[in-house]
Symmetry: C2
Subunit: 452 residues, 2 copies
């Protein structure tokens, strides 16, 4: 019934010896976080208010209702990074894995296409897929700044495709800053609907705003329960202190691991539905904390699949990793005794896939621990809207707290600006003529290359 | 025209200063590899022979033809790790991204379902999806040892589902060792078709055997051309020496980067079709080299998507990474001037998505380089069966050569055995009673946990 259990046993010296975090340093670090949190409570970051403000929930619901009555067949989401990872995470967790494949798995809801890349091969294929029903397609365009070139160029393409179908204005929704940016100008001129990103909430912290939630409302996902989960986690973090506070404990362990040279954080869900969640936190951690020459590197592995790919390295490779395991399984799939004439596989017969899945999770935990590779685990009794909301809020707080310990601003991303300028310059943006010449100079340097 | 161009400029001191590999150490390392390669040529590893032996190509083709005539609607592949990653890579690269969604994108070929995990939620969903056409479903079961519990338990389930449909024996193909293992016993007793893994070829080196190729033959992919690509690359590696040999150069750079503390290898394809390839090499590198406390950690990022997720960390984070970029784009998707009243986006109008994609690739290369983050890039003029075969062979050789430099056996994976034993013990396998008691003991230790 919406329980999340964090187990840190295997990140302590009792579990992994000298690779573990000693009690004293853990206590001290948690105390620092507790002190910092008192200040945060007095003057909270804007994203921390989202579970209680429920920003534009009414607008989202009424717009989703209106669109729901149009007989929509395709939902196309244009957005990249923080503008798509939240929605993808929620869809992965709560929609049927074969939602897009067959009508019977989506129960009257539209198919969805999240264009988080501009690879022209994939773009072309998506256009071919939605084109026959372009008059039954809703377009959701998400860019906080309104200037993301990937999203704007995709928008240009889709607007042209849609504009011949009657009432297309009703089927375009823009999600952007409250005032700034091109998308507001376009909406004003063309009459598209607009939802907003609340002030002071950056892309990667925006899952509990219209950015993450409106596309979910379109699919009939219960955004109130998700928000209630986030509020529940906010209450937990406010109510509990010290080593009873889940956010303090995770932030402290991940930072101390980083400090001990275990700077690779492997996010390893034993739960396909949490695959997107690992990608979501991977962005949050990398972009918030990778600064000034520091910052852990997050990477994703899937349980059990990557036992057959990465586990060898995690067990016998360098001790530069901390593994963050997630687990959830409720469905039962019985294993019949199909080959009962074979002793070698008799132990599997008449068990359940869920038991095997759980045994593999435990087997991996034990073998990592025996090898001295620290690991923590979060077990969800169920993957629900409520639990997902709680996880989002928990890991946003973990990131904010880690930023405090590492001593960086978790809310900027100065390192990606240069690449954006190079790209715009190469595409011929006005005012960037000097930068364009600079890129041409750099690219014309003799290269050391081999051709096959 | 099947060209692959490797550019290492940005891994050298001219590009990234002290973060680059000096000329002398590169030359010395390549010389060591060249010497080792002479020995390998004299006594090659079994996988090195595959492009010329074309193991069981006739058997694959005739079996695929026979099955092709049955009016198959679903292909279910049971396999994990090396038993599925090769096929997934080839499908990602060469089939339509929406192959499974609509008949028009698969041109009469079956839908495919690769069960590389046992998550019961996903398993259940796949069973529901294929069940209505179970009498038109072909099952391909891949396990070299024949003892992989994930695959065998899935096989038990699917055999039960299929056995009520007439002629189901004709629609089950097992791919396994030539002699050993349970699958051979099952095939003999039940009359299923069998293809083999050649002797001495381990799972992760088996993509150019029936393991990777038979599922492709079923989809009408040209396995001869893929094999020709591998043979072409084998010829390149034999013909060229020193810094003109692509395999020597990549292996030397990746190893020297690891030695310099740049032990995270980011595989970053600007090409959605090479997403699977990154996963494939991620297994090959991690499982082959992660041993004795050493070994680089591979991780995957997607260009351009992860510019909005990981690039901040790669640019401003610790200098512990070497980025391996891939690029390929041929399709054109014009960007119309939809918002030509807006100066801010005018630079995008009337360009092509391919141009933007390429500018982002170059922008990322430049900004990584300016920040001192070493990177190499492989540009494919096209993603073809031939080029894919060449890439497989190239990176298998790179891995083998890296194993020599690091001083490990690239062909074993001792670190995963303990976890397998724990799992089997927990599932009640006979003869593992002692291990079962041991796991129970370990799991009954008091845990440090927090519940939300």
């Amino acid at each position: 019934m919406n329980t999340i259990t964090l187990d840190i046993t295997n990140a302590l010296p009792d579990g992994v010896g000298e690779n573990g975090i000693g009690r004293k340093e853990l206590e001290e670090t948690i105390a620092r976080l507790s002190e910092h949190f008192s200040k945060l409570i007095a003057s909270p970051m804007p994203f921390m208010m989202l579970p209680s403000t429920r920003f534009q929930f009414d607008e989202m619901r009424s717009l989703a209702d209106k669109i729901g009555k149009m007989g929509i067949k395709n939902m196309v989401l244009l957005g990249i990074g923080g503008s798509s990872l939240g929605t993808q995470t929620i869809y992965d967790a709560l929609l049927d894995p074969f939602h897009n494949h067959e009508e019977r798995f989506r129960g009257g809801k539209p198919r969805y296409f999240i264009l988080d890349n501009i690879d022209p091969h994939k773009m072309g294929a998506i256009i071919e897929t939605v084109l026959p029903d372009i008059d039954k397609t809703v377009l959701v365009v998400i860019s906080k700044s309104g200037e993301t070139p990937e999203t704007i160029s995709q928008f240009m393409i889709f607007k042209e495709l849609m504009k011949k179908s009657p009432g297309f204005q009703e089927r375009i929704v823009l999600i952007t800053d409250r005032e700034k940016g091109i998308l507001n100008k376009i909406a004003a001129k063309e009459g598209f609907s607009v939802l907003n990103v609340p002030d002071g909430v950056g892309g990667r912290f925006s899952v509990l705003t219209p950015v993450g939630l409106f596309p979910c409302a379109l699919m009939g996902i219960n955004i109130d329960k998700m928000c209630a989960g986030a509020a529940g986690m906010a209450a937990h973090i406010t109510r509990y202190d010290g080593d009873e506070n889940m956010a303090f404990v995770i932030a402290a362990i991940l930072c101390l691991m980083d400090k001990k040279g275990k700077n690779i954080h492997v996010l390893m869900p034993y739960c396909e539905r949490l695959s997107g969640f690992a990608d979501w936190f991977r962005q949050l951690e990398a972009e918030s904390l990778g600064k000034k020459g520091f910052g852990p590197t997050p990477t994703k592995s899937m349980g059990v699949t990557d036992q057959h790919s990465q586990l060898q390295l995690y067990v016998e490779g360098p001790k530069d990793k901390c593994i963050v395991l997630f687990y959830s399984a409720t469905r039962e799939v019985p294993i019949p005794a199909s080959f009962d004439y074979l002793d070698d596989v008799a132990y599997l017969a008449n068990k359940d896939m869920k038991d095997l899945f759980h045994a593999e999770f435990q087997g991996t935990r034990l073998s990592l621990t025996q090898a001295g590779t620290p690991n923590i685990s979060l077990v969800l009794d169920e993957v629900t809207d409520y639990n997902l909301g709680a996880l989002f809020y928990l890991f946003e707080m973990v990131t904010l707290l880690m930023g405090h310990l590492i001593g960086v601003n978790a809310f900027d991303q100065p390192g990606v600006e240069q690449g954006k300028i190079y790209t715009k310059a190469m595409m011929g943006k006005k005012g960037l003529e000097k930068e364009r010449r600079h890129t041409e100079e750099l690219l014309s340097k003799p290269a050391k290359a081999i051709v096959f």
